[in-house]
């Protein structure tokens, strides 16, 4: 897979192997709010404060702010779903184009997907920072691989957006 940034400021991931494409296509499911584990839910919506005597603030946040955050993540996911449907194929390899208007949504979705995967790995630093190639035939190995793949994609976007 390679990455390029055109004069029209379009982000392009090209020559994507079908297996990597499958992982990229898994992003909407990974961040589907209906499928989040409790750990992921807690990380995505951490609440407003840990101060012990501010229950009212916490409940107001849950009632009034979290729905806005949920809506924001929902619209982000929709952008990603739409772009994934536009992926093209040539000689067995795929291409994903991201317009400048969609780049922020992609950054957000990739970050969210990485947090969900890490939460499902128990935020185990030893696993998250391993330099060994993960065994993608296992569930955890697949999670680690996707974490790294999405980090690569995030960094490509950030480098060009800056």
């Amino acid at each position: 897979m390679d990455f390029s940034f055109s004069r029209a400021k379009v982000f392009r991931f090209r020559k994507i192997h079908p297996l990597l494409a499958e992982f990229i296509r898994s992003i909407p499911d990974t961040i589907d709010p209906e499928q989040l584990s409790d750990e992921a839910q807690t990380r995505i919506f951490p609440g407003v404060t840990d101060e012990p005597d501010l229950d009212t603030m916490r409940s107001e946040w849950k009632a009034y702010v979290e729905p806005d955050l949920q809506e924001h993540f929902r619209s982000t996911r929709e952008v990603v779903v739409a772009d994934l449907k536009q992926m093209t194929e040539s000689k067995g390899l795929l291409e994903l184009q991201i317009s400048p208007a969609h780049a922020e949504a992609w950054l957000n979705a990739l970050n969210q997907a990485r947090l969900v995967l890490a939460a499902d790995l128990g935020f185990d630093e030893k696993i998250l920072t391993t330099t060994e190639a993960p065994d993608i035939t296992t569930e955890d190995g697949s999670r680690v691989f996707r974490l790294n793949l999405f980090a690569f994609m995030q960094q490509c976007l950030i480098d060009r957006m800056d």
């Binding site: 919506f45 404060t49 957000n108 970050n111």
Partner: protein, 99 residues
């Protein structure tokens, strides 16, 4: 009919006291092992309008010390900042500021 406007000053002792003793609030970002350093720095610049240098200083503080106070002041604005940071998936919380 002549209408007159009241000009008396109404004292609200409880409210005055509440405002006087309200602590400033601190927007704190906590470390997590997932967010990319470049991403965190970028979000700080976007949300607070910080320079690249200042954003990176806070990002490194989060990375090395586990947390950084990004802003402190009145509650409403602090809550807005926490919401913006959380919309970017950063682990941001509100604390009573001791500063």
């Amino acid at each position: 009919m002549i209408l007159t406007m009241a000009t008396e000053t109404i004292e609200l002792p409880e409210l005055k006291e509440s405002i006087a003793t309200s602590p400033p609030w601190a927007v704190v970002v906590h470390n997590d092992p997932v967010n990319l350093m470049s991403y965190v720095s970028r979000v700080f610049r976007e949300v607070f309008g910080y320079s690249k240098q200042r954003a990176e200083k806070h990002m490194l503080e989060v990375h090395k010390k586990g947390r950084s106070i990004l802003w402190s002041g009145e509650r409403e604005r602090a809550e807005l900042y926490v919401q913006q940071l959380q919309s970017h998936l950063l682990l941001a919380k509100l604390e009573r500021s001791s500063e």
